[in-house]
């Protein structure tokens, strides 16, 4: 049974780690990587709420990420909105879109849902490329201002690090609360047996849409943060490939595991950097990882090893004679 204190301690340890890490890692490039780990963590977390907890697949989440980035980017770069206000507007717009699209889309199941979300993501991507007057087209949108509070501008790696990770930690904390609450239980119930969940009064349809919208909103916030950190956005970052990468992060880290999402995000952000020389091989690696993880370690890294360990333990305990 879940022990509240353990959860709090885990979170505090994480917070401490985040606070202290720049003391050890102060090279600009590395800090930049950690900034991306933060952004990807928020994205993986958002997707995990939908995929791991609510059990609904989305192959188009890069689209929501991109929408957040572009709406923030356009409002601030072209129309000189206050960046914080723009972020709020972006999140609100994306939430609205997610609700509108969510009701019809989440009536679909399995492959149909996967394809529909894929299609949605690609439509968004095409719009980014084609609405050149608004978005700058394939060459992207530049001149996006940094975020600032008063005179304090987030324009260095270390400042962006703390900015992003503050958001990430808040997102993690809120998600942990959600997952351990009646809503979290309801989500897991839908996942385990939707028919039984309905019988005891869980409005599965509404809840799925709500989580979809929440997941989209979080992704949009990550997008806004990305836009203001990079000061430049281009459609290439928000295509199908990135949607697949996000799914891979969640699968590797572990479905329905908040800390797993962090792990998956960290791994898939750091490894490509380490393997810069092998850049072209990355999609092969993702493909292999997806297949192998799903076949052999379905719990992901967060749960998979404990699961696999207990499986092997019982196998050895029973002895070879009882193998079926």
């Amino acid at each position: 049974m879940r022990n509240v204190n353990v959860e709090i301690i885990k979170f505090l340890v994480l917070t401490l780690l985040v606070l202290v890490l720049p003391v050890v890692v102060h090279e600009g490039y590395l800090l930049n990587v950690l900034v991306f780990v933060g952004i990807h963590s928020i994205l993986a977390l958002a997707l995990n709420l939908l995929l791991g907890y609510a059990g609904q697949i989305s192959l188009g989440h890069a689209g929501f990420f991109g929408l957040g980035a572009y709406i923030s980017g356009v409002l601030t770069a072209t129309y000189s909105f206050n960046p914080w206000l723009a972020m709020l507007i972006a999140a609100a717009v994306v939430t609205f879109i997610a609700f509108a699209v969510g009701f019809p889309i989440l009536k679909l199941k399995g492959h149909y849902l996967a394809m529909a979300t894929l299609g949605l993501g690609i439509i968004i991507y095409i719009v980014f490329n084609e609405a050149v007057d608004l978005t700058g087209g394939p060459s992207g949108l530049s001149g996006i201002p940094n975020l600032r509070i008063g005179a304090f501008t987030f324009d260095t790696d270390i400042r962006n690090y703390y900015l992003i990770w503050t958001f990430a930690l808040v997102a993690i904390g809120l998600s942990l609360n959600l997952v351990h609450s009646r809503i979290g239980r309801a989500l897991r119930a839908i996942h385990d047996s939707e028919v039984a969940a309905r019988v005891i009064g869980v409005n599965a349809r509404l809840l799925k849409v709500q989580i979809f919208a929440l997941s989209a909103a979080l992704s949009a916030v990550a997008g806004s943060l990305y836009a203001h950190t990079m000061t430049f956005v281009a459609p290439a970052s928000f295509g199908f490939n990135f949607s697949v990468e996000l799914v891979t992060m969640v699968i590797i880290g572990g479905l329905a595991s908040i800390y797993g999402s962090l792990l998956g995000a960290a791994l898939l952000t750091v490894l490509p950097e380490l393997l810069r020389a092998f850049q072209d091989y990355d999609i092969i690696v993702y493909g292999l990882l997806l297949i192998l993880m799903t076949m052999f370690l379905p719990g992901g890294l967060a749960k998979g090893f404990p699961q696999a360990a207990s499986y092997w333990r019982t196998k050895f305990r029973r002895g070879p004679s009882s193998d079926a």
Binding site: R182, D192, A197, V199, I200, G201, L214
Partner: protein, 250 residues
């Protein structure tokens, strides 16, 4: 009280139910029996909103619930258990029962995420009530176990505890004795009586005749989608048409 009026259900060319009417009264245990294919599960599926009937209506405590979607019925006091027990396997026994209290709680996504005080208070209350229902079913010692690991008999008790947590006025039970041995069935009978004594109307589909004759106040017999007979256990046992249906064509 549950009232079914002239319920008819057709699937394409097959008539699963035809003109079935009955009333299950408060404080009574009503049994629904009949040979396989008689339409018993179809009847349950219609009442619980999984199917929409071709014609006829279902009334709960006077209100027409024919068009009410399945997930809204729990809040109105109607709950159901399944023949194959539908547990939330990956969750603990306690969490399963806590889910039964879903409709009796209301913290939304925002309150849960931000741990608002009323949410915390509600959580505590949910937990406490869940323990009380575990005690009702006699499975308090299993609270921390993963539901999927329970033996079938205990899983059945868990499903009942979860259903009772909804605080229903009507409990529909689909073959509750299926898969239970003799002593488990006796315990089930006692539990169902306990449920009835709390004022819950119980409607039970069953094949275990001993159980049915033992605890049911009224019995409804279905055959080939139609009502064959209705009455007290004794009347049903002495009804020649019923005997023929079971032993003759049955």
């Amino acid at each position: 009280m549950l009232e079914v009026r002239e319920l008819t259900q057709r699937f394409g060319g097959i008539t699963a139910l035809e003109n079935v009417s009955f009333t299950a009264r408060k404080g009574e245990i009503t049994g629904v029996i009949g040979p396989n294919g008689a339409g018993k599960t179809t009847l349950f599926n219609i009442i619980t909103g999984i199917y929409i009937q071709t014609s006829g209506s279902v009334h709960l405590n006077g209100e027409d619930i024919s068009r009410v979607p399945a997930e809204k019925l729990a809040a109105r006091g109607l709950v159901r258990t399944f023949q194959n027990i539908e547990l939330f396997g990956n969750m603990s026994v306690l969490e399963n029962v806590m889910l039964g209290l879903h409709t009796r709680s209301s913290s939304g996504i925002f309150s849960c995420m931000t741990k608002m005080p009323w949410h915390l208070k509600e959580e505590k209350s949910i937990r406490q009530q869940a323990f009380e229902w575990l005690e009702f079913s006699g499975i308090t010692d299993l609270a921390g176990q993963k539901a999927a690991n329970l033996p079938f008999g205990k899983g059945r008790l868990l499903e009942i505890a979860r259903a009772m947590a909804v605080n229903p006025s009507i409990m529909l039970m689909d073959e509750p004795a299926a898969g239970l041995n003799n002593s488990e069935t006796h315990m089930l009978a006692a539990l169902i009586r306990k449920i009835r004594d709390r004022g819950v109307t119980v409607v039970m589909v069953e094949h275990d005749m001993e159980l049915v004759m033992d605890i049911c106040d009224r019995i409804l017999v279905l055959n080939l989608g139609r009502m064959l007979a209705e009455g007290s256990p004794r009347e049903i046992q002495e009804n020649p048409a019923v005997v023929a249906a079971y032993l003759g064509e049955g």
